[in-house]
């Protein structure tokens, strides 16, 4: 049947429980719609950053401030976390609870590590007197990165909740569908970070 063939990307349960997959269809589609909405939000923040990048009001520019090394490490951490989440998704697909928890735990540590690196970078910038109040450019920089960072924080809390739920409920239908959506969310944030790296850090270093 054609309806059964129409899977949304991100659903990956057919191995163990096909009936869960039908259930997940509706929720995952809803989640994709939400991500679309969130993507527009980021798009507008990127557009704002692009129009503000030269509005430094006599303050420091990106070229003077940004440390590409730190941003590169952040990128690696986040990419690794996407990989570890992917490993978790494979475990989920095979219905293996223990490795799933392990990989979710690794992802959590990496996510928190990313937030730590970001906060360290912010602290360094503020130490040099480059605050969000300094100029329109820095306002848009801090807000773009913080909104992304807050998303990562929400993702981390979500991982903790899912770890607790896997322990409480096992791999129930609800839990599986939630982990699928968490995965979409996590990879989406990775993608947004890649765009941040290429539109915020790289041009600043190249100039």
């Amino acid at each position: 049947m054609t309806t059964e063939m129409r899977h949304h990307p991100g659903i990956n349960l057919s191995h163990s429980r096909p009936e869960d997959e039908r259930h997940a269809e509706v929720t995952v589609f809803g989640f994709w719609t939400f991500l679309m909405n969130d993507a527009i939000l980021f798009a507008l923040l990127f557009a704002t950053y692009a129009t503000m990048v030269n509005r430094t009001a006599g303050g420091p520019t990106g070229a003077e401030l940004f440390d590409i090394g730190n941003a590169f490490v952040e990128t690696l951490v986040l990419l690794l976390s996407s990989f570890s989440f992917g490993m978790g998704a494979v475990a989920l697909k095979e219905g293996r609870e223990h490795p799933l928890k392990l990989w979710l735990g690794v992802t959590l540590v990496l996510g928190l590590g990313f937030i730590g690196l970001e906060l360290r970078e912010f602290a360094g910038l503020i130490g040099q007197g480059a605050t969000a109040q300094t100029s329109g450019f820095l306002s848009s920089f801090y807000v773009l990165l913080s909104i992304h960072g807050l998303h990562v924080l929400v993702g981390c809390i979500w991982i903790v909740v899912m770890l607790a739920q896997v322990s409480t409920f096992g791999l129930s239908r609800q839990v599986r569908s939630r982990i699928l959506r968490l995965g979409l969310f996590w990879h989406f944030l990775d993608l947004v970070w890649i765009v941040i790296f290429t539109t915020v850090y790289l041009p600043a270093v190249a100039s």
């Binding site: 589609f29 719609t33 909405n37 507008l44 923040l45 848009s140 739920q165």
Partner: protein
């Protein structure tokens, strides 16, 4: 301003004693609220309301609560309009009775309420009630999110109402342009109320839109293809997609403005590298699609009402679907026409001017489709049809003045004059509000089982339409004479007569609204005479008429099988409108939950706390939201089963009603 730990900026100065009129308004709100609470307590109706309404996840009840919210806010928004009309009628070389600052609050709250807390809830209410029924579905895809969406919208509306009693409202208009709305020029809490109300209700709107999209794509009756959906569902879909793509603009514009105000950032300030044009762009990337969010579902209502009351098939269904999609896409390509005068290059203006004219084309196509639907039909002039006909005529006038405004050089003349005010009321009042009134009259018997009183409905119609023309046609003339919008007073004697006529028009609208209130009371009192529990009082064509009125909680005991457009009409023509099985399966429905009111309450507290800088309370609000979400995710039993016996009993009662009606007709 000094600020305490416990109460933030909130002091007794926040009470509205700055003007007797504001104090009077606050008193009306407080006494009205207290009256309602007292009445409910006296009737001991709290447990009933809580059980049957506030905690419900039934899309039909949620839809009705949205409509009630909208009607209440319509009264509030209209009182604002009357106040402005009265002020301008007398403020020729005189101060009138409103201070300029108060006048500014009034037009800001009028615009904000009419768009976000009257128009949006009214539409979302009707969509909520009707879309699942027209799709032949038992509910929306995410009933809980639906309830939360309602309560967040209500929380936003409550914040606007609260500003009347505690503090002030924004004076920045419904658009809230910085730098005027920055802290340096608007130091009071008014703008903060405006931002918080919009952010909170924006989240609610987004949740509802996600819900509609998923419902329409995934929950259609077995066999119903997309091109077999009723047109109203198409417009609901396009409108919801616009919400998904457009609301982030409102969130970002409002959020960044809040960051400027609260944390001293420089997004839109005059100094520090701020860029006010960014705000104009982001706001209108949201704002223009917003007007189509408001108007598309109304188009869907007209496309349902006109064929039913012409007793014909809708002319050009396919064309209407494509026209709707074209409008939805094009609505993102015209936003710059709201600020042609703000320094864009001539070529940029030319592009956006042309795009604006282009978007008139699919709209014009729709008008022809409606006219051709009526052509050679057997027309019945019940109130829903009267609203539709008044809409077509009036809307075309507004559309033509829109094309005038889309020509940049002419816009330089008319920008921010009353010509513009006349134009967009000329679109939104007939386009949106008349559509909502048509839908209200048309689907009222579906939701209640009895019809609205026809005589009072006609009276309301006449007063509204006459009032509309009197209130807004003079504004075109005033626009030509150079009268700016948002004026608390003026010194041109030749303008006054037009303002007086406009005030008379607003008074006529007041009579119209009065008739609508009476109509509701009379209809409830005389309900025995117009009762039609069988469910199809108008000879409807779509599936919502194939169940009882009001429909049972589960909508359809057996999901309908659909293979054509206008499924119910087709079944009636085939002589078998109802297919009744002898055996029913049990049905799973969501349980009631207090989460809607909880989230609404937390959002209100959070918004209020942020407005007044009461940070401990804001922290409490955020922690509450997070804790509630997590707690809910551990809840196991969220549905209950309606047994087949109960369904059988309900259905048999309805079958008897249908048979009685069939016998009465034959």
């Amino acid at each position: 301003m000094n600020s305490s730990m416990l109460f933030g900026k909130l002091t007794f100065d926040a009470l509205p004693f700055y003007s007797p009129i504001a104090a009077g308004g606050a008193a009306v709100i407080v006494l009205g609220g207290a009256g309602v609470v007292g009445l409910i307590t006296w009737l001991r109706a709290w447990p009933y309301l809580w059980r049957e309404w506030f905690t419900t996840t039934d899309h039909k009840k949620i839809g009705m609560m949205y409509v009630i919210l909208a009607l209440v806010m319509l009264l509030r928004g209209f009182v604002d309009a009357l106040m402005m009309r009265a002020q301008q009628a007398i403020a020729m070389n005189a101060e009138g009775y409103l201070t300029p600052d108060h006048f500014q609050q009034v037009f800001s709250s009028h615009g904000t309420i009419m768009i976000f807390f009257m128009g949006m809830p009214f539409l979302f209410g009707i969509m909520n009630y009707i879309v699942p029924l027209q799709l032949g579905a038992r509910d929306v895809a995410f009933p809980l999110l639906n309830a939360i969406g309602l309560w967040l919208t209500a929380a936003g509306a409550a914040l606007v109402m609260a500003s009347l009693v505690i503090g002030v409202f924004s004076t920045g208009g419904w658009t809230g342009y910085p730098p005027y709305t920055e802290l340096s020029y608007s130091p009071t809490v008014g703008v903060d109320y405006w931002i918080m109300a919009l952010l909170v209700s924006g989240i609610g709107t987004t949740l509802s839109a996600i819900n509609f999209i998923v419902t329409i794509y995934k929950m259609r009756a077995p066999g119903m293809k997309l091109m077999q959906m009723p047109l109203f569902c198409w417009t609901a879909l396009c409108s919801s997609l616009l919400v998904i793509f457009a609301i982030p603009g409102l969130t970002v514009a409002g959020g960044l403005l809040a960051l400027d105000r609260y944390l001293g950032m420089h997004f839109f300030t005059n100094d520090g590298g701020g860029n006010v044009m960014n705000y104009a762009n982001i706001f209108w990337i949201f704002g223009h699609p917003e007007v189509y969010i408001l108007i598309l579902p109304a188009f869907g209502i007209f496309s349902t009402v006109i064929p039913t009351f012409s007793q014909k098939k809708l002319f050009g269904y396919n064309v209407l679907v494509y026209a709707t999609m074209c409008i939805a896409v094009l609505s993102f390509t015209v936003w710059l026409h709201h600020f042609f005068t703000m320094g864009a290059d001539a070529n940029v203006n030319a592009f956006f001017g042309i795009m604006t004219m282009v978007i008139a084309v699919p709209t014009g196509v729709k008008v022809y489709d409606w006219i051709l639907t009526m052509y050679r039909g057997r027309l019945r002039f019940d109130t829903p049809m009267l609203w539709s006909i008044a809409f077509i005529v009036t809307f075309v006038i507004g559309g033509m003045t829109g094309v005038i405004l889309s020509i940049p050089p002419l816009d330089y003349v008319f920008h921010n004059t009353l010509f513009l005010i006349a134009h967009f009321h000329n679109m939104l009042v007939p386009g949106m509000l008349f559509g909502l009134f048509a839908g209200y009259a048309y689907w009222f018997p579906k939701a209640t089982g009895f019809r609205l009183d026809e005589r009072w409905g006609r009276r309301a119609f006449v007063f509204w339409v006459v009032g509309f023309y009197l209130a807004f046609m003079p504004l075109y003339v005033l626009g030509f004479m150079g009268a700016a919008r948002r004026m608390a007073y003026y010194d041109q004697p030749e303008w006054q007569i037009y303002f007086v006529v406009a005030a008379v028009g607003a008074f006529s609208v007041l009579l119209g609204i009065g008739c609508q209130v009476i109509q509701l009371v009379v209809s409830i009192r005389n309900r025995k005479g117009t009762m039609d529990l069988a469910g199809d009082p108008w000879g409807g064509q779509t599936l919502e008429w194939s169940t009882s009125s009001p429909p049972p909680e589960y909508n359809f005991a057996v999901l309908p099988q659909v293979s054509e457009l206008d499924a119910f009409q087709v079944a009636k023509e085939a002589g078998r409108p109802y297919v009744w099985p002898t055996h029913y399966e049990p049905i799973e429905v969501p349980r009631n939950t207090a989460l809607g009111p909880i989230f609404g309450g937390l959002a209100f507290v959070l918004g209020f706390a942020v407005v007044w800088h009461i940070w401990w309370l804001a922290a409490f609000g955020i922690a509450g939201v997070i804790a509630t979400i997590i707690a809910r995710s551990f809840a196991a039993e969220t549905t209950r089963i309606i047994s087949s016996e109960e369904i059988m009993a309900t259905e048999l009662r309805w079958h008897a009603d249908v048979r009685a009606k069939q016998e009465a007709n034959s």
